[in-house]
């Protein structure tokens, strides 16, 4: 088996008395598409935050292509090609949607942005418009992101993460807050782009249908530990997973369809 592209070894993190991560050892190979599931508070977002450099673990390491990136700040981690989206879409509400993409393009080009060149060149504009068109949000190009419907806002958040060469894409609840009919179209777009770039994807999800459909491998979290890791069908059938994760999901989905 080839060396993992990105892996964690013994990653642990506590917030006071709360153990958010407990000895997490996870290895992900290049090109994999991994779904991460777990109830709220199981440590999924903490995991993503540690891998992407936002949080420093109390113990353990994060390795990318064999190199230790544990202490790296988010900017350095991003420049290595590990990019992430957010549970709540992190956009720039004071700029137009196209300008949001311009910013992402500029950041991808230079870690230390230039003060004398012009940002909105015709070439970059063509690039930005192509990106927006590809993901179906070209109509909103001149509007502020606050005018986007929720689905498009999350999509834009992911699009910004994908501008530039992403080696690893970490998606934190990409379909949360989006209506059922919109989930699959959004994931179709994202996963198609991921495949086209040959990137490795890890997405945190609560919706089991999304997980089943798009993940080739599923990791289940519970109270900061990994309790199952493998093919989707196997993990979702696992007894512990049913008790601690899916069970909760079934109740939530039942409530959601009722509401």
């Amino acid at each position: 088996m080839s060396a993992p592209l990105i892996e964690t070894r013994g990653l642990s993190k506590s917030f006071g008395a709360v153990v958010a991560a407990d000895n997490l050892t996870v290895a992900i190979a290049a090109g994999e598409t991994v779904g991460v599931i777990g109830a709220n508070g199981a440590g999924k977002t903490t995991f993503v935050n540690m891998v992407s450099g936002y949080l420093k673990p109390d113990e353990g390491v994060v390795l990318f292509r064999g190199a230790d990136i544990t202490r790296m700040p988010p900017r350095a981690v991003t420049r290595l090609g590990i990019r992430r989206s957010f549970q709540v879409a992190q956009l720039f509400p004071n700029l137009s949607v196209r300008d949001n993409v311009f910013v992402a393009l500029a950041c991808a080009e230079h870690g230390r942005p230039r003060p004398t060149a012009v940002l909105r060149t015709p070439e970059r504009r063509a690039q930005a418009d192509a990106i927006l068109a590809r993901f179906g949000i070209a109509a909103f190009a001149d509007r502020p992101p606050t005018q986007l419907p929720q689905g498009q806002r999350k999509l834009l958040d992911i699009v910004l993460a994908m501008v530039g060469q992403a080696a690893v894409l970490l998606l934190d609840e990409p379909t949360s807050g989006i209506s059922a009919e919109e989930k699959f179209p959004l994931m179709d777009l994202v996963m198609e782009a991921v495949g086209a770039e040959g990137a490795t994807a890890l997405f945190v999800e609560h919706d089991m249908e999304v997980v089943e459909r798009y993940a080739a491998r599923v990791i289940a979290f519970y109270e900061g530990r990994v309790i199952a890791d493998g093919l989707p069908a196997a993990v979702l059938a696992d007894a512990d997973v049913r008790r601690y994760v899916v069970g909760a999901e079934l109740h939530r989905r039942a409530d959601a369809t009722r509401a």
Partner: protein, 298 residues
Amino acid sequence: MQKIYAILVDGTVYFSWLFIVSMGLTLTYGVMKILNIAHGSFYALGAYAAASAVGAWFAGNLPAAGSFVLLVLAGIVVGGGAGLIVERGLLRPMYGRDEIVLVLVTYAAFLVIEDLIKLVWGVDPYFAYQPYNLLGRTSIGGIDFAVYDLGLFALAVVIGVATWWALERTRSGKMLRAVIHDREIATAMGIDVARVFTATFVIGATLGALGGAITAPAISVVPGIGVDVIVLAFAVSVIGGLGSVAGAAVGALVVGLARACAVHFLPEVELFVIYGVMAVVLAVRPQGLFGRLAARKI
């Protein structure tokens, strides 16, 4: 040894003044998240009102002891009235706006009040030294001090304790602290934040005017006395942590002692020692000695 006494007493006097003058500002900021630049004008209004009142009092040959009460009353009345007018008339209509716009509104109020003072009282200095001289002088450790200045300390303690008691032990005080802590949740809990705002601003203005009123006997009351006060009070509040009354006390103590040391050892730095302390505190602990840092976002 004498120098130590001198520094301690000087520092205590200066602490008392700074504390009284800063408390209103830090409270207003804590509750309303507005830096009230007009605080200096309230101070000036208090000083002028007190000077006029005391002048009239003694011109009327009324009992000297009453002048102390008069000082306090003048400050409270003028501060309360002006505070109410500014809050209701100027700030309230602007509450939805960006915080910096609100600061500018208070700056505009400051400019307007500065000139109103000139129109009402003219530009010549006022003196109200009678209460100051009445209490005479005393000697501590061989250093000669005015009893009035020492009385300031007593007043600062009284005001500090009263404020602490009001914030900790009364229902209104707890509501105020709730608003300081989280305005949105406080509203969700049913607290009438608009009323809390008005009350806070008026209290802050009153404290500022009180500071001016009790200072009037010790200075010559001229236009512009409020200008320095604003930035001093602000520095003290920042050092202690904006919104914290305990912080204002500690900040005033630190600055008072630092300035006293400067005056006695290195007079060249006297003027900016307070800003130096402020810069150091900001660099090392930006939320101030008693302040809280904002929580993480993602």
